[in-house]
Amino acid sequence: MNRTLIALSLIAASLPQIGAATALNGSGATFPAPLYLRWASDFRKDSPDIIVNYQGVGSGAGIKQFSDGITDFGASDVAMSDSEINKVNGNVLMLPATAGTIVLAYNIPGVQTGLKLSRNAYVGILLGTIKSWNDPIIAKDNEGVTLPNLPITAVSRSDGSGTTAVFTAHLDAVSPEFASKVGSGKSVTWPVGVAGKGNDGVTALIKQTPGAIGYVEFGYAEKNNLTMASLQNKAGNFIAPTLQSGAATLASVNLPENLRAFITDPEGANDYPIATFTWLLVKKTYTDAAKAAAVKAFVSYGLTKGQSAAPELGYITLPENVVAKVQSVLATVK
């Protein structure tokens, strides 16, 4: 008798929870994946009845799965194009959720830190016109550094990626020659060098090849102790990639109404030149009200409490004015 009562009360206690638990499935960009996964697990502690799953399948696949209705939210390093938005009949909001910088990491024996690369230098390296580390164009900005006579191996991504899109968009903006020879996009043809799959593939190639230089995300480079070059920004200053210099870049961005801002060549004196927002894609209207509420709760968590987890994982905390703007757009989700 007693036992039956306990059993019944247990079932009764668990029923409402099962009924209220909402599962949110998302997929997309691999770049913010560590942060989103962290949010998902921390958010679970705050709101035990919402379960968030996120899979880092890549920006393109994320947009595809979101458009096909497979996932409840998507994520992309590259904002959706107009034709992609039309595909979902405009039922999408792009919300900047975090931001990051892309760095040029290098492996030059004997040059531990502080390599400075002017715009001419890094564009020349990636176009293959600068072939050796002791080239005068590089040496000019690095007085006191002994640069070896070592061939340069440029390392790029072999797979399509948002990182490549952001990086090439910057090069495309700063060099007309790069724009005509290579152009920008998720997957381009590099005139020189080798390519590896994913940030980890590029990282491995840089670590393994003396004389290598390649582009990876800041968080990734930091986690793997890669040495990063200071890059010359539009104002002409050499800026080392740090969370502060990345935040400076974001602060100077003016977000438009649709929250779709491409930072190709920031103008501030202390701005790190290559930075990007990364977006969460959510629907304007969900058919399931519980899902809409859950999405709002999760994204809102990410924009507020979640931002404090960003720096330790190598992402840039969104400036307050950006958070406020995104929150106001998020509030319109139904």
Partner: protein, 320 residues
């Protein structure tokens, strides 16, 4: 005669009994083999359907084009086709002498039977190692070697286009060296069975005429087994062409034309593995077109290999 017919007569009713029942096993076998054919047709059909937009848009220019720029919707696979052929051919060039030597060693009685069995087992075990492990081994062992000696090679022989610098660790040569090891079991196993099936009478005849062992091997056994050895090479070539993971990890993934073995290159399978996940629009179609080319090439090579192998078996069985 009469006794015989009596026996068959007594068996006949039972055989008839069997025949009247539906033969499920036979049916299942038919179904399974048909399913294999249907599956192959389905896969090829699906690839062709998905590839159709690219086939109609780019036509044969896809095969002769030298630029692969998804961001500009320019797709040409000539450098990749050349990379595929070159890496497989180079792998074969490296693996054939070694594989044939091992096969000879294992088919002649240089060693006691039990020791040969062990060596044969070990060589065939190479085929069981996963591709990604070969890739890792290549990264940690072959790449440093190629980096070290490639630079020397480039500085000494760089005037020959094949060895022109700068020497990259991830290069056509690196991929070919690892591919050579991966196709070694194919070459060894098939060559060995071709060598073993050379009729004993031929060897005895050769010895009887006063030939030494090496003369017998070089002028009787190898020529007799030659079609089988050729078949093993063709099949190994086919395997090398389709190999993906290890190659993608080692070849440097660059779609540029270069004469140098020390330059990065790319293969069809590595290109597909790298770019499929993030591809959209016409790029998916272009990759499917590349996949169709890969299927045609590997199927063609494998069919040729099997055909040669069959003819050999017929030829040697005639000698018996």
């Amino acid at each position: 005669m009469g006794g015989n017919s009596a026996v068959t007569g007594s068996i006949h009713p039972i055989a008839g009994e069997y025949r009247r029942r539906p033969d499920f096993f036979r049916g299942a076998c038919w179904l399974a083999s048909l399913l294999t054919i249907v599956l192959l047709a389905f896969i090829i059909g699906e690839i062709l359907i998905k590839a159709f937009p690219a086939i109609s848009k780019f036509g044969l220019g896809f095969i002769t084009g030298i630029q692969w720029s998804p961001n500009r919707d320019v797709f040409g696979v000539l450098p990749v086709l050349i990379g595929t052929a070159a890496s497989s051919f180079l792998a074969l060039l490296l693996a054939l002498p070694l594989g044939l030597a091992i096969a000879l060693f294992l088919s002649e009685d240089f060693l006691p039977h039990s020791v040969r069995q062990v060596i044969r087992f070990v060589v065939e075990l190479l085929a069981a190692i996963p591709s990604v492990v070969y890739g890792l081994w290549g990264i940690f062992v072959v790449i440093p070697l190629i980096q070290q000696y490639g630079a020397v090679l480039a500085s000494k022989l760089g005037f020959i286009p094949l060895f022109a610098g700068p020497a990259y660790g991830n290069s056509l040569l690196t991929a070919s060296v690892v591919l050579a090891l991966m196709v070694l079991p194919t070459i060894t196993a098939i060559s060995r069975s071709a060598l073993v099936s050379v009729p004993y009478a031929l060897r005895e005849g050769s010895y009887a005429l006063g030939a030494t062992r090496w003369e017998t091997i070089l002028s009787v056994i190898i020529p007799t087994a030659a079609p089988g050895i050729v078949a093993s090479s063709i099949l190994a070539f086919g395997r090398a062409m389709g190999e993906t993971m290890a190659v993608a990890m080692l070849i440097g993934n660059s779609q540029r034309l270069s004469w140098s073995l020390l330059s990065p290159s790319n293969t069809l399978s590595a290109l597909l593995a790298n770019q499929f996940a993030e591809a959209d629009g016409i790029q998916v179609s272009a990759l499917m077109y590349a996949a169709a080319l890969l299927v045609v090439l590997t199927l063609g090579v494998n069919i040729a290999g099997e055909a040669v192998l069959r003819r050999t078996q017929k030829a040697t069985s005639g000698l018996r």
